[in-house]
Symmetry: D2
Subunit: 388 residues, 4 copies
Amino acid sequence: MNETHASMLPDLKERVRKFIDEVAIPLEGTAIERDVEALDEIAGTLRRQAREAGIYGPQLPKEYGGLALPWRACAELFEECARGLLGPIALNCAPPDQPNALLLDLLASPAQRERFLGPIARGEKRACFAMTEPAPGAGSDPSMLKTTARRGNGKWVLDGHKKFISGGVKADIAIVPAQTEEGVTLFVFDTATPGYRVTRDIAMATSYQIGGHAEIVMEACELPGDAVLGTVGQGFEHIQLRLEPARLSHCMRFIGRARRAMEIAQRYVSQRVSFGAPLAELQQVQAMVADSHIDLHASRLITHHCAQLMDEGKSVKHYSSMTKVFVSEAVGRVADRAMQMCGALGVSEDEAISAIWREARPFRIYDGANEVHRSAIARRILHRNLSP
Amino acid sequence: MNETHASMLPDLKERVRKFIDEVAIPLEGTAIERDVEALDEIAGTLRRQAREAGIYGPQLPKEYGGLALPWRACAELFEECARGLLGPIALNCAPPDQPNALLLDLLASPAQRERFLGPIARGEKRACFAMTEPAPGAGSDPSMLKTTARRGNGKWVLDGHKKFISGGVKADIAIVPAQTEEGVTLFVFDTATPGYRVTRDIAMATSYQIGGHAEIVMEACELPGDAVLGTVGQGFEHIQLRLEPARLSHCMRFIGRARRAMEIAQRYVSQRVSFGAPLAELQQVQAMVADSHIDLHASRLITHHCAQLMDEGKSVKHYSSMTKVFVSEAVGRVADRAMQMCGALGVSEDEAISAIWREARPFRIYDGANEVHRSAIARRILHRNLSP
Amino acid sequence: MNETHASMLPDLKERVRKFIDEVAIPLEGTAIERDVEALDEIAGTLRRQAREAGIYGPQLPKEYGGLALPWRACAELFEECARGLLGPIALNCAPPDQPNALLLDLLASPAQRERFLGPIARGEKRACFAMTEPAPGAGSDPSMLKTTARRGNGKWVLDGHKKFISGGVKADIAIVPAQTEEGVTLFVFDTATPGYRVTRDIAMATSYQIGGHAEIVMEACELPGDAVLGTVGQGFEHIQLRLEPARLSHCMRFIGRARRAMEIAQRYVSQRVSFGAPLAELQQVQAMVADSHIDLHASRLITHHCAQLMDEGKSVKHYSSMTKVFVSEAVGRVADRAMQMCGALGVSEDEAISAIWREARPFRIYDGANEVHRSAIARRILHRNLSP
Amino acid sequence: MNETHASMLPDLKERVRKFIDEVAIPLEGTAIERDVEALDEIAGTLRRQAREAGIYGPQLPKEYGGLALPWRACAELFEECARGLLGPIALNCAPPDQPNALLLDLLASPAQRERFLGPIARGEKRACFAMTEPAPGAGSDPSMLKTTARRGNGKWVLDGHKKFISGGVKADIAIVPAQTEEGVTLFVFDTATPGYRVTRDIAMATSYQIGGHAEIVMEACELPGDAVLGTVGQGFEHIQLRLEPARLSHCMRFIGRARRAMEIAQRYVSQRVSFGAPLAELQQVQAMVADSHIDLHASRLITHHCAQLMDEGKSVKHYSSMTKVFVSEAVGRVADRAMQMCGALGVSEDEAISAIWREARPFRIYDGANEVHRSAIARRILHRNLSP
């Protein structure tokens, strides 16, 4: 983070905080949390307001109205805005489009930039990244990818079945890895392409996912020759470019979510009296407060450290895995404690804790299950004899 | 458990297992999990079928069609039936009516038995037990009870505000503790009584709760003089009679829930291949399987031990607290592991794991938050110098 | 446990308790905890007194002065006596001779019974079971056994290197598994046999191990033809006979150890004042007390359940593994909490907690590392599709 | 850390690493770990060599031969040197003299500097800080201090009883807080003062503590008027100056200790074969490796963050508490995993893991028990409404 960015940050954070508290949080509610159309509609409104507040797209290129901030600064703004369940949607830094735009920015041809990246970055269209497949296709192990793309007449024909594709419902654009003769290749195309079909919005324990979680079938889906994103056969290498920042961005946002849960819980235990004293005076409650602050403090440091490395252009393969494992488990613990501190109120949808708790859980699963990361981290350590 | 009961048990368990797998599980689904009317309708159908299968009401008196089994036998049947998300509803051993019927059986006058206990036990009507109040009323600390009952003209006039009352939506009967001049007193009455009003069904993270979670207001709610359940001023003592069996019954049922989650997860990891082998061959997955079986094994032993004490007429104040703390945390761990083992599928509502995971979480909160139990257990130990 | 044993048990337990408190505990001390000769000397004295008190050898055959109690009764007496750091030594139910005697009782020829089992069971001699070898020999994986026994002239010639052999220092008798042409075979012989040499007593974090932890070298160690214990080539099957009871007996004793630690800690927190009140009134301390009682309660139930199965002659391969994993971790947690509750005093050797804490730790390692058990438990479950 | 220090650091770290591996580690051994005189003798030798290597006293003033580095640089050197069990002793940055010298540097009069600080900083003499008292004196709660100092004839007369005073055996200098009429006051004096008596070296589970753990009695111990350190009645404020850096320095050193344990464990699992493959290929082992690296990575970041704040002159009351709780538990987990990975070898004293494991445990107790810190952290948060 250079000095200009560092000097802008306090003001930006304050503006985001105010926007979240005054604009975004009041719109939250169970009625909309899983309603794809309602979320899209709110997104439109909120993004206009975020643009007016000068906080739209912290990570987005300036040409599309973004702030083009480095990762280290994004870490603080993503956290700040994610306190609002609708915050990342409002700033257009929610997944999957935040990493989708990043990937397009790195790989898209000029025509693809104009047709796909521009509308996504301006918040006019939505894309999904359709990787996961039902068994026996690609899950934790991407090499099991079953979707295929065959060449013919200067075109590509896609066939495949995708599942749990976040943001896939009513998405305008799809980014799809598929097996080709030359190896895995990425394709980007309009979801209106014949043969591409969203079969359902899969109900999940989570919430506030723009575009829900789609199951998608592609049957003889014919794409133009220029639908390839990046280089033919380089799909896996390209996916890595998206994966690591996506993972780290999740950490940034979830720290904000967990912080929101604790804000509610701290307020509650300070007021709620039981057995003659506020809950805040009970040591078991105090231990939960202390542990949550420690978890969040460590989560921030470990996330900021990795963001800094990314800004310096260094490889974060190892550190982003460690960060993901630590933060996904820490924010899960924090949300769990916040719920326990608030009792039945915390379980109810009257407060945001329940939604945050449900949303935090799968972070231990997606972006690579923590078990997969643990194994990969250790193999790297043991093979290269990395110092503990 | 005497020999007769012991000899009946294997056959009863097998019939319950079959009923759950063939009749109850196929009816599960997200469409109904929070739909109070749909659950009531299904309850009617399933209870008829359960009666035909000879498995209705394991814990209910024979005069109402139940099996009148001792706690130790109920432990096994409650577990067995709770594998089905609709199982306890089907056998009419779901909360809150399972402990409600128990309380009425112990305290009701002959007229109250006929008017309230009979219809509940036969599954014709539903009751709620309306204890919890919004702050600053009764929560973990029952002594903060704010609801009052004033005497006048041979009647009682209730005023109060209740919240998070499970089973309260569309309940026919209410059991309500209230402050009177003589101390806390229980009242049982028809919810059609003027002044009694369910203001909403509170959305909760949980699922499959018959009668949802009501917020209730009572304003000048006039009850007849014989609405007192048990003895005036003995409300807290009476509540204890309900609390301990209610808590232990929850343990029994949740063991079944957690077992169901693991059945799904074991099937999944045996089939799903990743990185060249079934997930079942990965040690991190194996550790989750082993730990879950150990958790369930210990949960059963600790629950059955306590059930046995109850059958022997011994006080289970101490042991039921220890059992509740252990089992509520163990089943939470098991559900969490089952979800992790199944990845995105486990988070989705395509499998029952997600509902079980959401439902298990608040068990660490209700029936006395685990923190309250831990403190009470320790104070009992330290004051009476109980041997570790 | 039949009625006779059940009726004897309360009195036996009371006598053991009194013996431990009055006779065994006063002899404890850092000066002797790792002094093999001092422990042997004390053993002699204490065993005489235990015999007089009618509590010697709960598990030992009556012909050698033991009580020949079933496992379920032993569970309670082993716990009771293990409260004393010298208790199991006093009752001659300490490892390794407790399972050594069991193995000999099952396999020894009449001559071996007289020569080896009798002196061990009467507490006159000590044996060691020398399985573990330095890398690349047998550790967690017994199939890596490197020690060999070659036949020649009606004799057996042993060559091998053993390490971490508890009880091996100054042992009179050795039981040694070795590779033979027909498969692994057990040998029992006098340690005075030429070629058998204890090279050192390995310093360990643990304490009060009779016979310390030996490193042993066998070079051309010539044994008579009748040194085979059991059947040639059946060594692995024979070892199983020792392993499962040994593992479960450890559980029984460690419950007693952990209980002792908590007795000390409960006394301490009831008396020690800090910030104006006894530590016992602090919720974080209360949580430690409650969790420890819950851990011990569950540990007892799970251990007694397995002991009962053994008395019924059932296979406990699966349950003894689950019991070992649960109890070894539970008693470790209890000892850790007891230490934390007592602060610096708990870390010091002024109280027995420190020794118990150090001794409990390796129980997660020996008798099969918990990781090995977890993997084996899960593979059994998944291959046989065992119900959770 | 300014640029000069930053540029020196890599070379300094490398020199420390080399010194530890080649000079300090070879001298480790169970024979000396609790032998106060042997440790003192080795200290003399090692300090000479450290001075020659240009690495003596990273934190000490230059006037006494130290490097006078800022905290952020010390963090890295303390970690590096603490890989050797004798490392901090060699560099004279071991407790209690590392924080003792700091306290004297802040408070000592010129005469006290010359008489006490100089010899300590040059490694010629040793001091102890005698705070803790047996019950009912000062433990976690310093306000319970029972030691008194009465004025008379221009002198002070001390009476008190101290316990668990690390470094107290054969210390030349004592720093003692005592109650005076004006409030708690610090005294610094020669231990040869009549009436001051070390009654014993308390055996503890820990190891490599220079000066052991003393129990001390002061009876009519007459001190000159200028024995006051700092200001009369300001003892508690003065102690804070020592406490926070002492706590953070422990974190720095323990990270090095835990790293050493993992270095040994990584080497072991890479070589040791079991069930047909190196332990390193087992996922349960991999999970332990990954978790330990994550724990150490987070521990470093949280410790370095706090060190940086100290260098900036900011209050670290809150952050040093959070750091201490996190790091003390993290290094305990790491040492525990390293032991588990190495099996019996890890429990033995053949490798340093056992000593590290025993030494790490009490860090959750001293410098303020973690329970006390958790409560203090939470009360600060809740009273000041600090953001999570």
